[in-house]
């Protein structure tokens, strides 16, 4: 599975940090979230899917294998 946050769509709501705090981190001065490096291997795929479901900007992109 590939997961990333589209930097053009993310508007810094940070709900992904509420729903998957081990998977996403926030870049303060860019006002947006990114996937933590290596998190795709350590965090369950369903956690990413749940976070993507809550993102109001639909900015979390998941490519299933």
């Amino acid at each position: 599975m590939k997961v990333w946050v589209d930097p053009e769509k993310c508007r810094g709501h940070a709900l992904c940090l509420t729903y998957a705090e081990d998977a996403f981190e926030f870049i303060d001065l860019e006002d947006r979230s990114v996937v933590i490096e290596g998190a795709v291997d350590s965090v369950a795929p369903d956690v990413f899917r749940a976070a993507a479901n809550e993102c109001p900007e639909r900015a979390i992109i998941i490519e299933e294998d």
Binding site: H13, A14, L17, F26, D28, L29, N53, E54, P56, E57
Partner: protein, 409 residues
């Protein structure tokens, strides 16, 4: 304008219907026979209102067509046009300039900073509840929901927080009196501006490590903000900080008071509060009419819109769109795919959303932990007269079983 509108309504968002029959009014807009996600209202010299989720999503992502700019006197923002003379920063500005202004305060308005404030937010909440918990009665809206965000906002700015009642009075007048008593609103706005100017003057010689000092020292496009810019930026921080979080908390408590099962669910799942609040942000948000202006003739979701027309962006209506939220009138604290628009979407997403969420969760946890059996005295409940900008409770008297203070008096 808009003589060719297909769906015409007579909807006054500043009127008593929306305030007193909120759910019915929002339903009336949503469930129209033609299934329109938007319509042309004849109120206030005519304007569009968009309530459909998908239409609002599209509009908010297209700031070039749907502009936030405040251009008095020809086209002041808002429906009806706002009274204040200059754009509020950054909400009344678009594009790169808006993003540059936001950068000035991003060191403060980010999730990590909101988290770092949590112990202080908790302390303020505990102290405010201590003030009334032994008495068995309180005006939750004023003594707790209004007080806490106001104190936090002033502490962030580095301003005297014990003066919160004064600031709150001016802010409430700015927001809630502008349509029905513009003279009073302007009087209070001038008092607020005067106090902001005093804060600017106080820091001229020595800046501190507070939010307002950062606003004064951080250059935008190579130059520090002048006094007008500082005043217009600070005004927005006050407006955002002092009326909205209290609004959603009051709205939520009123709903929960009418639903014993919901109250029990919240108490049983109190450790889930960061997720529970999302459902109340969706259904009980302070709503309001945010504004856009159409910059060019455009066909949009079945309607022909014309350059210069005003648009009311009804995020709180969209939050009840059945196409986006199954069974939207049910408050389901376990709801998933809850992509609500309580903080707006797109480039103007509410800067204070991270702090608002922390404060809202802390307030709710405080109430349902310390006074879980509260009963609302409905005869004493008073809403702000005008809910056109912010749908909020002014007075919310409750009684409850008295409890102990956490800190001795």
């Amino acid at each position: 304008m808009a003589a060719d509108a297909k769906h015409v309504i007579d909807f006054d968002h500043h009127g008593p219907m929306l305030r007193d029959h909120n759910t019915e009014q929002l339903k009336e807009l949503m469930y129209n026979d033609a299934g329109c996600p938007m319509g042309w209202s004849t109120a206030h010299n005519g304007h569009w209102a968009i309530w459909g989720y998908d239409a609002l999503y599209d509009a908010v992502q297209d700031a070039e067509t749907f502009s936030s700019t405040h251009l008095p006197p020809e086209c002041p923002k808002g429906v009806p046009g706002a009274l204040y003379p200059d754009p509020l920063i950054p909400i009344d500005i678009d594009g790169q300039e808006q993003q540059d202004y936001r950068k000035v305060v991003l060191n403060w308005f980010n999730p990590g900073h909101a988290r770092s404030l949590e112990p202080r937010i908790q302390q303020i909440c505990d102290d405010l509840i201590d003030d009334f918990i032994e008495s068995g009665e309180a005006d939750l809206a004023y003594q707790l929901f209004t007080a806490l965000p106001a104190i936090v906002t002033l502490e962030m700015l580095g301003w005297e927080s014990h003066r919160w009642r004064e600031w709150v009075g001016w802010v409430h007048s700015f927001i809630h009196d502008a349509t029905h008593d513009p003279e009073l609103a302007m009087q209070n706005t001038m008092l607020m501006y005067g106090s902001i100017n005093n804060e600017i003057a106080r820091r001229r010689d020595e800046l501190g490590d507070d939010l307002f000092s950062d606003m004064m020292r951080t250059p935008v496009a190579g130059k520090v903000l002048d006094d007008d810019e500082l005043r217009n930026f600070a005004t927005l921080v006050l407006l955002g900080g002092m009326d909205t979080t209290s609004g959603v908390t009051g709205n939520s408590v009123l709903l929960i008071d009418q639903d014993d099962e919901l109250r029990r669910q919240i108490i049983d799942n109190i450790d889930q509060m960061p997720k529970i609040i999302e459902e109340f942000l969706r259904y009980a948000g302070p709503g309001g009419g945010l504004y856009r202006r159409v910059t060019k003739d455009v066909e949009f979701h079945g309607e022909q819109m014309h350059e210069g027309e005003k648009v009311l962006m009804m995020f709180w209506a969209a939050n009840r769109d059945p196409k986006a939220f199954p069974d939207p009138e049910k408050i389901d604290i376990f709801r998933t795919q809850n992509r609500h628009m309580a903080f707006g979407l797109g480039p103007h997403r509410c800067l204070g959303s991270h702090h608002a969420r922390r404060m809202f969760a802390t307030l709710m946890t405080g109430i349902f932990t310390r006074i879980p059996d509260f009963e609302v005295d409905w005869d004493g409940v008073e809403r702000f007269e005008d809910c056109g900008s912010v749908y909020a409770v002014r007075h919310l008297p409750v009684t409850f079983t008295p409890g102990p203070r956490l800190t001795p008096a």
